[in-house]
Every structure is written in structure tokens, then in C-alpha cells.
Amino acid sequence: MFMLAAMIVLAATQIILRNVFQSGMPELEPLLRILVLWIGMLGAVVAAREDRHISIDVFSRSLSPRNKCMVRVVLDLFVTLIAGLIAYHTARFVAFEYEAATMAFARVPSWMAQSILPFAFGVIALRYLHFTFCNIIALMNKGYDRKC
């Protein structure tokens, strides 16, 4: 699904190319902009899965494996909480938009384009919840080096 989205963008770029030479379709521009958001959010979901979100890793480098694991539990809980909150509030936002029935472009309603936000942040929250448990288990088993 994720790769598909990337390919759609590339397919769409072909159409941009055609636009350069002839007049194009006006719906394409908003579609592309929304695709950027979708690709970005899905990329963020994968970044969460691979634990590759941008962070400052200056001090964590010098921690012992055990302390690192304990810090991770706190951090992961924090991210779970924040991402969960964002998912909840963006879901409310999508619900408002659903009632307002605004159109993003052509016949695509805005709420559909926006639905990626609660979805992605929801999945990210679940991912970090998983990391939290994983690190707690690692702490209990003293298996700090194990990758979650």
C-alpha cells in the first residue's frame, strides 16, 4: 500500500510532464499535494516501525544497556501518549469535516483525504506501545541487547 502510493506519485509526475507540454487537468494539483501528505504519514509509520524517527542521540550513547532500556520505557510511553492524543484529536477533526461535507477536489470529500492523520498517528501510538512492553519484558528478563 505504501509503495503503491509512492508509485502513484511517480505516475502522477508523468502527467505533470504532459502538463508542461499541453494543458492539464486541474484536479491533479490537489491530488498530488494530498499524496505528499499520505506518503509522508505512511513513511512516518514505517519510520516508527524501524525506530528511525529523528531524535537527539547525544546522551543515550553513553548509557549502559540497562539504563538505556529503562529510559526507553519512559520515552516510548511518552510517544504512545502523545501520538495517541494526536490520533484522537485529528479523528475529531475528521469527524467535523465529515459533517461539514467539504470537498478536497473533484468528488473526493476532505474528510477522506484527512483520514490518514488519525490512522497514521494511531498506528504510531500502537507501535510505541509495543516498544514499551517489549522494553519492559527485556528489563524483566535482563535481555537488554535484544532488539524490540
Binding site: 509503495m3 506519485v9 511517480l10 509522508g40 504519514m41 513513511g43 514505517v46 529523528i54 531524535s55
Partner: protein, 425 residues
Amino acid sequence: MLIALALIILALLGAPLFAIIAASAMWGFTQAEIDLSVLGIEIYRVAEMPVLLAIPLFTFAGYLLGESNAPKRLVQLTDALLGWMPGGLAIVSLTACAFFTAFTGASGITIIALGALLYPALKQAGYPDNFNLGLVTTSGSLGLLFAPSLPLILYGVIAQQLNLPRQISIDELFIAGIMPGLLMLLLLSAYSLWVGRESAKPISAFSWHNLAKALRDTAWELPMPFIILGGIYGGYFAVSEAAAVTALYVLIVEVFIYEEIKLKELPKIMRDSMVLVGAILIILGVSLASTNYLIDADVPTQIFDTIKEYVSSKLTFLILLNIFLLVIGTMLDVFSALVIITPLLLPVAMAYGIDPVHLGIIFLANMQIGYFTPPVGMNLFIASYRFNKPVMQIYMATLPFFFILLAAVLIITYWPALSLTLLGQ
């Protein structure tokens, strides 16, 4: 205050920055009694900026180039052009790296893709080992100031969100970056010539035959910079269109013409590049929310009023700015630094009479050094890992380069005309 402190500690411990920024935005909105569903509106603004299309497309193109043999061909070509000069190889390395970084964004790819080719070659040409390590590590972030580098685009995007009294365009940034970028390249080349004045022999005699071969090998890639840069600088297409053309062109050339990347490898490359895009865009999204709050709450003005009590002259401000940015650059990568710092810094700097385009160039020039400033610059660790050398040795090796580029940064900072003359200001 307590919340701010807690967030800073969490960030330093290594919490993902998007969560930190989102938390501070949510806290701000709650204090101002604004319904948090506004988060949806703010993050959705990522889908309302046409220029952002450039980010996934350029990133993908950069990853494709990195996976193909393009780095090798690039070295061959610069070698054929410059290899006859004494000390030519060092200049080859610097030029090739700057070029490659401009197209791939400074994410350490340059060290991994080009460093592996250049490091042994430099050694063979008789340069001292530490010089080679330093050069390759430093080159990993060289080229940040040249179009179409992603950090330049991102700075422009953020500046456009701020409703400044003077709107800046990304094209202006691209033009402003040329001279300062060349200055860095020039200073480093001069140093390399001086180091290699006795030991380094020319690697090859100049031969039309070699040049012709290198040109033939790169026949398909060679037009690319001309199309992109010519197109953007000449005003034929917008940045996002240039990105679309680049992505498509690189895809066709590397996959179907050179056949160096197999179709079945494509999904993995797409996925890898989109992970980076996701990590950048999620930070940009949540920081749109926090920025909006900061501006509503008039935070930049307050910061300006506070600083004004202690710092009266533009010069002192610039000195402090350099120190501040260098420290930030060692801790944050350029993308997060841009989205976090720019919205606060830009209004303050403009109040001190600094041109927003010039500030962008100062910002990125400092960040470029931050990449390899001891003790924590990211590229130091990438190089240490890639060349299997102790980090301490890399520190020592990059030190001369650090001071040279620091001199360049000071010139760039205190001589605005260097960045702005080409803009005709």
C-alpha cells in the same frame, strides 16, 4: 516552565522530536484554551503547500543515484577533468562530494557512497591518512548550499509560512547559496593543494581519450544538472516540477538505460527513501502547529525584547548567532533544526536588520559544520563506522577542515554581499 524543562530533558534523552514538538504545541493550545482538534487543521497544512512535492521526489532521486554506479562515474569524470593537476585528486573529491550532496541532501549518503571510492584513491595518491579521513568526513556535508539541496528548500518553505514583511522565494535561496558554497569549496581546495604540495603526485596525465570516455559514460547523467539548474535558475519551471522531472529522469536512466538498478530493487529503494521523507514531514507537520501557536503568543517578539536588553548591535547578535547555531548543529540534524529554530529565529534576526535570505545561508553554513563538530557531529560517527577508525582519530583528522570552514562561515556571516550580490540587492 516545568513542562518545558521536562520536554527538553526527554528530547535530550532521545525521544523522537516530532513527539516533543507535538507535546509543546498541545500544551500551548491547552493553555490558550484552543480546542485541540486544531492539530488536524495544522498538520493538514502539509497537504496545502505545493512546493513540498519536491521533498519526496528529490529524496527518491537521491536514493536512486546513491544505489547506482553514478558516484563512480562522477568520480571518473571529475578525475578526467581535474586529475592532471598536482593535488588534483583532493579537488576531485571535494567537487564530486559537493555535487553529490547537493542532489542527495546531507544525510550521510555521500560519505557512504563516495567516501568508499575516494578514501583508498587518496591514499594511493600519497596523501597523509588523517588528511584523507578528514577530507572525506568533511565532504559529507559539503554542497548543502547548492541547489537543489533539500535543506535550502525546507528553509524557504518555513520562511514562507511566517507572514514576514518580506517574502522570500526558494529560487532566491538557490541563487544566494552559489557564492558562499563556492567559497567553501575554494578554501578547502587551497588547503588540499598546500597539503599535497610535495607528497601528492598528479594521478593521471590529462588525456582527451580519458575525458571522452568519461563523458561518454556519463552521457545520460550529464544533462541532468543542466536541465534542473538551468530550468530553475532560468525560471522555466518551479522547484516541485524540477523535482518531478529529476525523479522521472533518474528513474528512467538508472533503471532502463544503464540497467544498474533492477526493477525488483525499486520497492526497497522507494521504501527507504520514504522513511526519511516521513521522518521529515511528520516533524514539519507538528511544527506547523507549534509555530502557529508561538506566533499567536508573540513569542518571537518576546525573545527579541529580552535579547535586545543585552545585545544592542547587529554584530554581537551575529556572533552569538554563530555560536548558538554551531552548538545546535552538533545536536540536531539539519532538518529538525530548520523546523524548530527558524520560526523563532527568523523574526528576531529580521528585527536586527538581517536579510531573511542571508540568514538562511548563515543557518545552513553553520549546520554544515555542525555535522562534523566534535564531540557529537553525526558525520563523525558515520565516518568512524564506515572506515573502521576510532572516533578520536576522526576528531583529530577533521580539525583543520573544521577551522577552514569556520573561517568560511565567518566570512559568509559578516559579509552579506557574498550571498546577496547575485540577487542584485
